[in-house]
């Protein structure tokens, strides 16, 4: 810095004092110029150095010089310049005082901007004055040399000589002084301009940076190598609720969760060892109001950077993200609809439980809601969901805190019992669950009970792992379903075999129709009094290659469940109609026999049944009135409205309709009247009752009377004894069927029987009271 040169001249200038007042002033002006240049420099540097005291002293020194100069000259030019200089100096004094008065000194750059021109003016005006006065010195000497009086001339000459000698000496010094001063001055000005530009650029970028830091939603902190906080950005107020000043120099670990402190210390220590930026690390910090937040921090090692000398931490509040993550984890392990554990979590729990405890202490229950699909289809998915939620709640209500309830999917639930004493205890829980579910559940204005099939399995030590245990519960549930639903079953090892068989059967059922394994047997319905065969009921059998002949009970429910009833039903319809037609053709003189075909509930649910009936009749060329469709009473009352409509459709075809197993369902009389039926088939139970006691007989009588009242044809089922037949006649029942008359016969056997019994007006059994054995099988 050229300014340093100026300091060297502090002493030299004084030597000019020997040249009297003129040079006295000049030396003062030289001093003043020095102070002015130094003052200008110090003011420039003020934002960087903050040396308010130094600037103040410099100003005082310059003021002192000006005071001296004022006293050393009577020249008006000097007085004027000095007066202006005083004004500038006072301005600078004022603004220095302002800066001192302000505690945070944020306006230093602004104050400097105001002081700079004044300081510059001072330097310039004093310089100009000095230059002017230097000329004056020579002028004075000149004037003295031109004096007239010789004595004066001598005196002056002598002093001039002294002056000249001295001058010559000081002139060379002066030249140097001037040159150096000029150089210093020029350099200072150039530097000042450069510095001004650089400073403005720096200020602009600092402003930008400060704005970025202040407005960033992340908290930016600077931390020493030993972990002490030096700086927090404004955003710490927003994020953590603290003032930045509150935290500086404090121990940042006080804000960190105790469990995380060690990890955080390690993180900071490691960041200090390595250059560059760390990976993100999360820990918990405490908000000023006491709540804990999850924060994620990245650290940049700027210890080597002269401007920072610390670690820069960038911290972000990730509490929301953590919550979301937790939610996702929860969702991954829980069922969204019911909040129960899902299959994954349930399996895990079972595995853990098996690892922890004796398998014999564990019970697993599998619960499948019965006919849930029906609810979904008829009442809609929203209702179905409500049902599932209610079932889940009820399930949980039956359990202890140590037990786990889960929804495995669809309408399948599972329960893990962690402290079962034995299988009976598990059964007890199962029973309780079924009871709880049974309580009517209000849905869309109706109340329906929730029925389920439940399988329970208890762990076998040394045998069962998690998969085994779950499979056992599953197969037990399957058995409950197969066993009729709305019940529970305890697992036993045979169940696997049973289920396998059932599954096998299912698989075979799929092809039963096209494998010609179905066969129809026919049982005649006779006029009780005359023994005349008027109708034939077609009964389906499955001629299983391995199992032999299987009756409908063995496979029809399964077929219905599996949705396989369609092909079977179609086959039966067609075959029955064809056979009826065949008999008609074979025995053209006898009145044609009606054929009865049983319809299952599933068949009746489908619209296409109507078309199938039409198809069968047309293919067989059978008159519709010769086809009677039998429907069990319980099926009819399961959905009065739909059934009613379907029956009407079928009736419209011209076929006859009969209620099978009448008396076993829950039909009310009013509904009966709405159904377009022609015949009631009285259930075997009532027929059995006849002759056994007064009540039972009265009951049978009542039903027969009912049918008459409703103008329905009554047929008694399951007549096994001649007395029953006789009694029925007495009670007014006209027709009946049963072993007493004939067992179900193959088509061939039936044809043979018809051939034997055909006579005028029909087919008459030889002895109404004597039963006919089936001739084959």
């Amino acid at each position: 810095m050229e300014v340093l040169i100026l300091q060297a001249y502090a002493n030299v200038n004084r030597t000019t004092a020997i040249f009297g007042e003129q040079s006295f002033l000049n030396s003062t002006l030289v001093n003043a110029q020095r102070e002015a240049l130094l003052l200008e420099d110090q003011i420039e540097e003020l934002p960087r150095t903050g040396d308010l005291k130094g600037a103040g002293i410099r100003r005082g020194l310059l003021a002192n010089q000006l005071s001296q100069a004022e006293g050393q000259s009577s020249d008006p030019q000097v007085a004027q310049t000095l007066a202006q200089a005083r004004v500038d100096l006072t301005l600078i004094q004022r603004h220095l005082a302002r800066i001192e008065a302000e505690p945070d000194r944020v306006s230093v750059p602004d104050e400097v901007t105001i002081m700079q021109p004044a300081a510059h003016r001072l330097a310039v005006s004093i310089k100009q004055l000095f230059d002017a006065k230097e000329q004056g010195l020579f002028g004075a000497v000149n004037g003295a040399l031109n004096a007239r009086r010789s004595s004066e001339r001598l005196l002056v000459g002598l002093s001039a000589m002294v002056l000249v000698v001295g001058l010559a000496l000081s002139l060379s010094l002066r030249q140097r002084v001037r040159k150096d001063f000029a150089r210093a001055y020029a350099a200072l000005t150039a530097e000042v301009d450069e510095r001004k530009a650089a400073e403005q650029a720096l200020r602009a970028s600092e402003e930008r940076f400060r704005s970025l830091v202040q407005n960033s939603s992340d908290v930016i902190s600077i931390v020493d190598a030993d972990g002490a906080v030096r700086y927090h950005s404004e955003s710490v107020r927003r994020v953590l609720g603290y003032d930045p000043g509150e935290l500086v120099d404090g121990d940042p670990l006080t804000l960190v969760h105790p469990d995380d402190r060690e990890r955080v210390s390690r993180f900071v220590a490691e960041a200090a060892l390595r250059p560059g930026v760390t990976a993100a690390e999360t820990w918990r910090v405490r908000h000023r109001d006491g709540t804990w937040l999850h924060s994620e921090t990245v650290a940049a090692n700027l210890l080597e950077d002269a401007n920072v000398r610390g670690l820069v931490l960038n911290t972000r509040d990730v509490s929301d993200r953590k919550e979301l993550e937790a939610q996702l984890v929860h969702q991954a392990f829980h069922d969204g609809l019911t909040g129960l554990a899902n299959r994954t979590l349930f399996t895990e729990r079972v595995e853990h439980a098996l690892a922890r405890s004796d398998p014999a202490d564990l019970g697993v229950l599998f619960i499948d809601l019965d006919d849930f699909k029906h609810v979904n289809d008829s009442l809609g998915h929203a209702a179905g969901d409500q049902l599932l939620v209610a079932a889940a709640r009820r399930l949980q209500g039956c359990l202890r805190p140590s037990d786990t309830a889960a929804r495995l999917g669809g309408d399948e639930f599972a329960v893990l019992l962690e402290r079962v004493t034995d299988a009976d205890a598990a059964a007890g829980v199962a029973a309780r669950i079924l009871d709880t579910l049974h309580q009517p559940f209000g849905l869309n204005g109706r109340t329906i009970p929730i029925k389920a099939s439940l399988g329970a399995a208890v762990g076998r030590p040394g045998v069962d792992d998690a998969d085994e245990l779950l499979r056992n519960a599953d197969v037990a549930m399957y058995a409950a379903k197969a066993g009729g639903k709305d019940r529970y079953e305890l697992f036993h090892p045979d169940m696997h075999e049973d289920m396998l068989q059932r599954l096998e059967l299912e698989a075979e059922l799929r092809h039963v129709a096209d494998r010609d394994q179905l066969v129809l047997h026919y049982q005649p319905i006779v006029e009780l009094v005359t023994g005349r065969i008027t109708r034939v009921e077609a009964l389906v059998r499955w001629d299983h290659p391995a199992k032999g002949l299987l009756g409908p009970a063995a496979f029809i429910p399964l077929a219905e469940e599996q949705g396989l009833i369609g092909p079977i039903g179609r086959w039966v319809l067609l075959q029955a109609c064809l056979q009826a037609r065949r008999w008609q053709d074979q025995f053209p003189d006898a009145p044609p026999l009606s054929v009865h075909v049983n319809l299952s509930g599933r068949q009746l649910e489908e619209q296409r049944l109507v078309g199938e009936v039409v198809q069968a009749l047309e293919t067989a060329r059978l008159a519709p009135r010769l086809l009677t469709l039998e429907i069990t009473e319980s099926v009819l009352v399961s959905d009065i409205e739909a059934m009613s409509a379907r029956l009407r459709e079928l009736k419209g075809l011209g076929v006859h309709l009969a209620i099978d197993d009448f008396g076993t369902g829950y039909s009310s009389l009013s509904y009966l009247r709405r159904f377009p039926i022609d015949m009631l088939k009285i259930d075997k139970a009532f027929v059995d009752g006849i002759g056994r006691g007064r009540e039972d007989t009265a009951l049978a009588h009542a039903i027969i009377k009912l049918s008459h009242t409703l103008q329905l044809h009554a047929v008694a089922e399951g007549i096994e004894e001649a007395e029953q037949a006789a009694s029925l006649v007495t009670l007014g029942c006209r027709d009946g069927q049963g072993f007493h008359f004939a067992r179900p016969l193959t088509a061939a056997a039936m044809t043979e029987l018809l051939g034997k019994t055909v006579a005028d007006g029909g087919f008459y059994l030889p002895n109404a009271a004597a039963p006919v054995e089936s001739l084959s099988g």
């Binding site: 002493n11 004084r14 002192n64 005071s67």
Partner: protein, 193 residues
């Protein structure tokens, strides 16, 4: 010749006696104090050999080097209050730069050297001002002169604007004082060598 010689001797002796008495006469400070000669205005409470406590106000003078009394490490730091505890002297002098007479008050530099415990072996003191101007004095010259380290001008403390806070001034008649270059103002530090 006898009696006249005796008279002359007596007269001579008397004259001598008178002359001796005249020589023993007190310094003319009692009757009509001459302001241009240094006068003690306060005997002071801080004398040589005593401990100087740490300054409470702004430090105006730092004394370093060959000294016997220090209050900050090896340095002796003094504020205006400390200086004013020493023996205060007042003198009216001709200020060379303002070209008028000013009544200065302060400490004799020789007294200051004593308080600072400057040994007899010291040779010179170097004074440096706030504007880095430097002046050296021989210790012997300081002890024999009455140069003053002034703390007040015309009864008031001096700001930097007025050559303060402390400055070296010389009373009339001081040979050193004839050189304006030695009237160092805004003194900041003193080094004893």
């Amino acid at each position: 010749m006898g009696r006249s010689i005796r008279l002359v001797v007596v007269a001579l002796v008397a004259a001598l006696a008178v002359a001796a008495c005249g020589g023993k006469e007190e310094a003319p400070t009692q009757a009509a104090p001459d302001p241009s000669t240094p006068q003690v205005v306060d005997g002071g409470t801080l004398a040589a050999g005593e401990k100087v406590s740490a300054p409470k106000g702004d430090v105006v003078l730092t004394v370093t080097g060959d000294i016997g009394t220090a209050n900050k490490g090896k340095k002796l730091e003094l504020d205006l209050a400390s200086l004013e505890k020493m023996r205060q002297v007042r003198v009216e002098a001709a200020e060379p730069f303002l070209k008028r007479r000013v009544v200065f008050e302060g400490v004799l530099l020789s007294d200051l050297l004593a308080v600072a415990g400057v040994p007899d072996s010291a040779s010179k003191v170097s004074l440096t001002a706030l504007d880095d101007y430097k002046v050296d004095f021989k210790v012997a010259d300081v002890r024999s002169s009455q140069m003053l380290l002034a703390t007040k001008a015309d009864g008031k403390h001096m700001p930097v604007d007025r050559s303060g806070p402390i400055r070296i001034v010389f009373p009339d008649g001081s040979s050193l004082g004839r050189n304006p270059d030695l009237w160092i103002w805004s003194v900041a530090s003193m080094k004893v060598i």
